[in-house]
C-alpha cells in the first residue's frame, strides 16, 4: 500500500504528467468549445471526431507541402468546416437524422483519411517550444501551461472569444434561442435551421483548428488513430459541464488529466497496474462523470430535436 502511494506521489509530482495533461486537455478544449456552441443551438454534433481528424490530416498534408505552419492551421480549419458543411446541410437543410449523418461522417472521414494517409504519408513536425517568460517558471503549472510548443497558445484567445460570441453578441443570443425554443425563435423571425447550421460550421472551424494544433503540439508523424475517440470525449465534456462554457473547460481539464495519467503510469513501470485498465480509464471516467452530473443540469430544451415548421 505504501508503495502504491509512493507511486501516486511520483506520478503527480512529475512535470511530464501535467504537460501531457495540458496537451490532451487543449485539443479537447478546442473541440468542446465548438461543440458547446453547436449544442446550445440544439445539435448534438457526433461528427466532431471527423472534423478533428479531417483538420489534423489536412494540416499535416499542408505542412508537408508548404512547410508553413500558419497555412497548415488554415488548412485544418478549412477541412473542419468542410466536414461540418456536410453535417449541417444534411441534418439541417435536408431532414436526415443528425446522429446518422454524424456517425456516417465519422466512418467516412476515418476511411478517407486512412486511405489517403497510406498513399501520401504526410510528414509533419512538432513546432518549437516557446516558453512564456516568468509565467513558465511557476512550479507545477508553469511548464504545462506556458512552456509548450507555440500552436498550443492558440487556445488562449479562443476560449474568451467563444464566451463573448455566445453570451455577448446577437448571434449568441440567437444561438441560445434556437436551442431552447425553436418555435418561439421562428415566430420572432429567426431562421432556425440556418442559425443551427452556422453553429455547426463554427464547431467545425474550432474542431478543425484543434486537430491541426494537436498535430503540431503532440506528434511527430501523422497517424489515422491520432484523434482516436477524443471527439466523443469532447462531446461528453460539454454534457459534463452542464452546457456552460466554464463547466465544459473543467470537463476537458479533468478528462485531459485522466488521459495523461494513462500515458504516464506505464512509463514509471509499476507492474501492478494492468495496461487494460489504463486504456479504459478515460472512457470509464467520462461515463461515470456524465452519469453523476447529467441529471443535475438542465440541457438546452430543444437539444437533438430537429426543427420543422408546420407551414412553410
Amino acid at each position: 500500500m505504501g508503495e502504491f502511494f509512493a507511486a501516486l506521489g511520483d506520478i503527480f509530482s512529475s512535470d511530464s504528467m501535467y504537460i501531457g495533461a495540458a496537451i490532451a486537455a487543449v485539443v479537447l478544449v478546442f473541440a468542446a468549445s465548438g461543440e458547446f456552441v453547436a449544442e446550445r443551438a440544439g445539435t448534438i454534433n457526433i461528427s466532431l471526431e471527423a472534423m478533428m481528424l479531417g483538420g489534423a490530416f489536412a494540416a499535416a498534408v499542408m505542412f508537408d507541402l508548404t512547410g508553413s505552419a500558419w497555412l497548415s492551421l488554415l488548412a485544418g480549419v478549412v477541412a473542419g468546416v468542410l466536414v461540418s458543411w456536410v453535417q449541417a446541410n444534411m441534418s439541417h437543410r435536408l431532414p436526415a437524422d443528425q446522429f446518422v449523418v454524424g456517425l456516417v461522417l465519422n466512418v467516412l472521414v476515418l476511411g478517407v483519411v486512412g486511405f489517403l494517409a497510406g498513399e501520401i504519408d504526410p510528414q509533419s513536425n512538432r513546432m518549437r517550444v516557446i516558453e512564456v517568460p516568468l509565467l513558465s517558471d511557476i512550479p507545477g503549472l508553469g511548464p504545462a501551461l506556458f512552456g509548450q510548443r507555440w500552436p498550443f497558445y492558440v487556445v488562449y484567445p479562443v476560449v474568451p472569444v467563444v464566451w463573448w460570441l455566445v453570451y455577448r453578441t446577437r448571434w449568441g443570443l440567437e444561438i441560445r434561442a434556437v436551442g431552447e425554443d425553436p418555435n418561439a425563435a421562428d415566430v420572432s423571425g429567426l431562421h432556425v435551421n440556418k442559425i443551427r447550421r452556422q453553429a455547426i460550421y463554427f464547431a467545425g472551424l474550432l474542431a478543425g483548428l484543434g486537430g491541426a494544433c494537436f498535430v503540431f503540439v503532440a506528434t511527430d508523424s501523422f497517424e489515422d488513430s491520432l484523434i482516436g475517440g477524443r471527439g466523443f470525449v469532447a462531446i461528453a465534456a460539454v454534457i459534463f459541464g452542464g452546457w456552460t462554457l466554464k463547466g465544459t473547460i473543467a470537463g476537458c481539464t479533468i478528462f485531459g488529466l485522466v488521459v495523461s495519467l494513462g500515458l504516464t503510469i506505464p512509463g514509471l513501470r509499476y507492474e501492478a497496474i494492468d495496461s487494460s485498465f489504463l486504456d479504459m480509464a478515460p472512457n470509464v471516467v467520462t461515463i461515470v462523470a456524465m452519469a453523476v452530473f447529467a441529471k443535475r443540469v438542465r440541457q438546452p430544451a430543444a437539444l437533438a430535436r430537429p426543427f420543422r415548421r408546420g407551414l412553410k
Binding site: 435536408l94 449523418v101 476515418l110 476511411g111 478517407v112 486511405f115 461528453a236 485498465f277 461515463i287
Partner: protein
C-alpha cells in the same frame, strides 16, 4: 393555443404525406434518384483512387471478383453477411424505439468473449454447447448495451455517447481477459508464445458448414434470415412491436397510451445489444472470421458495418437483409484488394460514401412530398 393549432396542421400535413407517398413518388423517379446517388458515391471513390495514382478499374474489379465472381467466393460473402445482418436487426429494434445505439462493435466483442468463455469451458454434446455459447453471446451483448440503457433512463445520459464510449471499454476488458488464463487466454501449449488468443472451439462445437456449388458457408446463414423474418413479423404485427414503434415516433403519445418508456426503452436496448452479442458468438463459431478463437481486435468493424446497414435499410427488416449482403460483398471484396496490392481502406471509403449518398434520396423525397402536402393542406383551409 397557437401551438396546438400549428401542431394540428403539422400532424395533418404528416398524414397527407403518408397518403401522398403512394401517389407522388413515381417509381421511376425514386429509382432514378437512388441510381444517381449510388453512381455519385462510386464515382467519387473512383476519383479518389485515380487522384492517388491508382486504377479505379482494378479496385472495382478486385472487389467484384473477391466478393462474387471468383469460384467459391460468394459462400464467404454469405458467411460475412451473417453477423452484419444480425447486428443490423438489433439496431433496427433500438432504432424503432427512437434510441441511437452506436456501440454495436463493443457489444459484439463482449458477446464473442462471453461465447468463447462458455464454448471452451462448457462440456457436453456439441449442439448443446453451440446453443449455450450463442445464448452467452446474447447475454454479454445485452449486459453491455444494458449499461447504456439504464444510464439513459435513470441518469439522463445520452445513449449515443455511452454506447460508443463503452465500445472501446469493451475491447479493453476483453484485452484484459485475453491476458488471463483463468478468463480467456488459451493454455500455453496450444498457442505461439505470447500470442494473446483464446483456445479454439472444439470441432463439434462449431456451427456446421455446408457446401453449395463449391461455395462453403455456415448454416447460420439460414438461421439469421429466419430470425430476420420472425423479427419483421414481431415488429409489424404484435403489440410489443407496435408500442416500440409508438415510443420511437412520438414518446409523448406513447406515454399517454400507457407505454412505459423506461421498460420498453431499456428492453429495446437489451434486445439490440443481445443481437450484437449474438453476432459476435456467430462470428466466433461460424468460421468465416479467424479460426474459431477470440483474438484482440476481434470485431474487425463488423459491428459498424451492421449499424450502417440498418441505417441504410431505414429500419426495415427485409431491406436490411439485402443491404447486409451488399456490405458483406464490400467486406470480402476488400480482402481481394489486399491480395492485389491495393489499399483495403478504399473499401471503407466506398462503404462510407455509399451510406452517405443513400441518405440523400429519402430526405429529398420526404421534403418534396411534405411541401406538396402542406400546399394541399393550405388549399383546403
Amino acid at each position: 393555443m397557437s401551438d396546438i393549432g400549428e401542431h394540428a396542421i403539422d400532424t395533418a400535413a404528416d398524414e397527407v404525406v403518408a397518403a401522398a407517398r403512394v401517389r407522388d413518388g413515381s417509381l421511376a423517379e425514386i429509382v432514378g434518384l437512388y441510381a444517381v446517388s449510388i453512381a455519385a458515391a462510386l464515382v467519387l471513390a473512383g476519383i479518389l483512387v485515380v487522384a492517388t495514382g491508382g486504377s479505379w478499374q482494378d479496385v472495382y474489379r478486385a472487389m467484384i471478383n473477391g466478393s462474387l465472381r471468383n469460384p467459391g467466393r460468394w459462400g464467404g460473402t454469405l458467411g460475412a453477411t451473417v453477423p452484419i445482418l444480425v447486428v443490423a436487426l438489433g439496431t433496427i429494434v433500438s432504432g424503432r424505439a427512437g434510441l441511437v445505439n452506436i456501440g454495436q462493435e463493443g457489444q459484439l466483442v463482449m458477446g464473442a468473449a462471453f461465447g468463447a468463455y462458455v464454448g471452451v469451458r462448457l462440456g457436453g454434446p456439441g449442439p448443446f454447447v453451440i446453443v449455450a455459447l450463442c445464448l452467452a453471446g446474447v447475454l454479454g451483448g445485452a449486459i453491455w448495451a444494458g449499461i447504456a440503457g439504464v444510464l439513459r433512463y435513470t441518469r439522463n445520459v445520452p445513449e449515443v455517447l455511452t454506447t460508443l464510449l463503452l465500445g472501446t471499454v469493451a475491447s479493453s476488458v476483453v484485452g484484459f481477459g485475453l491476458k488471463r488464463s483463468w478468463l480467456l487466454l488459451a493454455p500455453a501449449a496450444g498457442r505461439a508464445n505470447r500470442n494473446q488468443v483464446s483456445e479454439q472451439l472444439a470441432a463439434d462445437t462449431r456451427i456446421p458448414r455446408i457446401t453449395v456449388f463449391g461455395n462453403e458457408f455456415p448454416i447460420s446463414v439460414f438461421i439469421s434470415v429466419a430470425i430476420a423474418l420472425v423479427l419483421a413479423v414481431v415488429l409489424a404485427r404484435t403489440v410489443a412491436g407496435f408500442r416500440l414503434g409508438m415510443l420511437g415516433l412520438n414518446p409523448r403519445t406513447a406515454r399517454r397510451a400507457g407505454v412505459s418508456e423506461t421498460r420498453y426503452g431499456i428492453g429495446a436496448m437489451l434486445v439490440s445489444g443481445g443481437f450484437a452479442g449474438l453476432a459476435g458468438a456467430l462470428m466466433l463459431a461460424g468460421g468465416d472470421f479467424g479460426s474459431y478463437q477470440l483474438v484482440s481486435n476481434f470485431g474487425a468493424g463488423i459491428g459498424f458495418a451492421g449499424l450502417l446497414a440498418a441505417l441504410v435499410a431505414r429500419q426495415k427488416v427485409i431491406a436490411a437483409i439485402f443491404v447486409a449482403f451488399v456490405f458483406g460483398c464490400l467486406r470480402t471484396g476488400s480482402n481481394f484488394l489486399r491480395a492485389g496490392g491495393l489499399s483495403t481502406r478504399i473499401a471503407d471509403v466506398v462503404q462510407g460514401l455509399l451510406v452517405l449518398a443513400l441518405l440523400v434520396p429519402p430526405a429529398l423525397l420526404y421534403l418534396r412530398q411534405r411541401r406538396r402536402a402542406v400546399a394541399r393542406a393550405q388549399a383546403r383551409v
